[in-house]
Amino acid sequence: MSLTLALSKGKLLAGSEELFKRAGLPFPNGEGRKLVVPTGELRFLFVKDMDVPTYVEYGVADCGIAGRDVLLETGADVLEPLDLGFGRCRVVVAGPAGRGFAPDSASSTRVASKYARLAASHFQGRGLGVEVVKLAGSVEIAPGLGLAHGIVDVVETGRTLVENGLEVVEIVAESSARLIVNRASFHARRAEVQKLVDTLREASARGQAL
């Protein structure tokens, strides 16, 4: 029996590959568009980043690598035993530069986001009635076009914000890549899962010490 891992071909791919190579674990490369790749002791599934937690939660994959931002958005019930340290970014509230963005000053404020759930719970938690407009991408152009007053989005360097005349108003959450594990796999495939967690923990620590 081999473990199945769900990974995304998105922004965490390079970091995941580097980590696996450092850990001496197999990692599929040059497989083109293949989405299910067996490599001896591990089987890899390549799915959309927002879907990684779902595959793991349902036990289709035993483990996976997902950003904390994605875990917060999906609310998946999975274990998160390891902060892998790469893919660091922040989920922020941003608004037009210079003019700021004060959702508590207006009676109806709209915010555009790919992270609709996270955005809604963030504003709800602070007692603000903000309308969240769910978008699939290019969120940063929404304020300029009049679709929304501000956005909730992921920021790495902040350049995209500047290019679109936006500035960070508030940090919602810090994010980095996490190793996630299915609850049943953790217990029912204990030895294999623990070995993978230990191997990746050790490789991750070595990588961060470099």
């Binding site: 349902y58 036990g59 035993p81 609850r183 049943a184 217990h187 029912a188």
Partner: protein, 372 residues
């Protein structure tokens, strides 16, 4: 006007036919036989009761409730445990403890629909009320193991935790932890996220260092019974947590003596669940299903709410998930005896033959009037 919803199915309900229904019935019969085998009595509680009976934060928001004609608020049962506690404290008040009761039936809850977790769920479970707590804990776990073995479930694990470990540490942290922060911490421990726990405790000023270190260790304290010795060292400063570990030790020792040790794992990050749990908690995991198939725990303060304070422990298996699991593990439902076609002659003659064959216990297909 919207189209009539005659063909639509509301989310969260299912319908079972033929083999699926037979599989479920078969599972139920086997599980009930185990419950009866341990001398538990069946209880068939009402389908609905006053909503207050099901009070408790975890359930209240998920309950289907409605207003009766007299203005009282009623609720369809979201679980059995509260109802059984009510009956034990009410109608069965005169019965000497311990009471051993089992149930099998539907509950309904507003829940996000997920594999094997619909809004209508079928639960088979039991409650052990009163009696010696450690003996009851061990008995209930042994029954859970027998149910799964009897069903032929391969590779199951009973993951044991104890509410007192987390609660003891929260108490030790004192006023440095409060309200929302405790719930966030519970969520991070429950997700076995040591980095998240550390971050949260760094943000909360004044948590004693040994307490913070212990919270973080909870996320990795899991495994065989050696875990308990390791945990005892980490939690040595915290008396309630130590007491919790001793309870777990007594129960796991008993299970090992009974040859059930191979099914047991310790998981001290097992800290969630309904808010009425007060002691041992456990969940049943199986390799081929991503979700738990059942679980249970000790709830010593629930019966007091109904006026008969008795310690109690219970356990339940989700029939929907067990059925899904057996299907995944490639187990076919029992097939019925082939039917014998009875037809021919006058209707009266044919019916008389069918009735006679039924009298002999034969499965008949009364085909008179049907094309051959």
């Amino acid at each position: 006007m919207s189209a009539p919803r005659l063909a639509q199915v509301p989310p969260g309900v299912q319908c079972f036919v033929g083999d699926e229904a037979r599989r479920r019935r078969g599972v139920e019969e086997q599980v009930v036989a185990v419950f009866e085998g341990w001398d538990y009595e069946e209880i068939i509680p009402p389908l609905f009761d006053y909503a207050d009976v099901f009070a408790g934060e975890a359930l209240a928001s998920r309950t289907y409730s409605f207003v009766a004609r007299d203005g009282s608020v009623l609720a369809l049962r979201p679980d059995f445990t509260s109802l059984i506690a009510k009956v034990a404290a009410g109608r069965l008040r005169g019965r000497k403890a311990p009471l051993r009761l089992y149930y099998s039936g539907e509950v309904v809850r507003y829940e996000p629909v997920k594999a094997g977790r619909q809004n209508e769920l079928y639960q088979m479970g039991l409650e052990h009320l009163g009696g010696d707590a450690r003996a009851a804990d061990a008995e209930v776990l042994a029954i859970a193991a027998e149910c799964l073995e009897r069903l032929g479930v391969k590779g199951f694990v009973l993951a044991l935790g104890h509410v007192g470990v987390f609660a003891g540490l929260v108490e030790a942290a004192g006023s440095s932890l409060a309200g929302d922060r405790i719930e966030e911490l519970r969520d991070r421990v429950e997700s076995k996220d040591p980095a998240g726990v550390r971050q949260l405790l760094q943000a909360a000023a004044g948590v004693p260092r040994d307490v913070a270190a212990a919270f973080e260790r909870l996320t990795v304290l899991g495994g065989g019974s050696a875990t308990l010795s390791e945990a005892a060292a980490v939690l040595a400063f915290c008396a309630p947590a130590r007491a919790a570990l001793e309870e777990l030790r007594a129960v796991t020792d008993a299970l090992e003596a009974a040859g059930l040790g191979r099914h047991v794992a310790i998981d001290l990050a097992e800290v969630r669940g309904l808010d009425y749990y007060t002691g041992l908690v456990f969940r049943v995991f199986v390799r081929d299903l991503g979700f738990e198939v059942g679980g249970g725990g000790r709830y010593d303060s629930l019966l007091g709410r109904f006026g008969r304070p008795l310690p109690a422990v219970g356990f339940m298996l989700g029939l929907d998930r067990v059925a899904l699991l057996l299907e995944r593990q490639g187990r076919a439902p029992s097939s019925p005896q082939a039917a014998e076609a009875v037809r021919g002659g006058t209707l009266g003659e044919a019916l008389a033959r069918a009735v006679a064959r039924r009298g002999q216990g034969v499965r008949v297909r009364f085909g008179n009037g049907e094309p051959r």
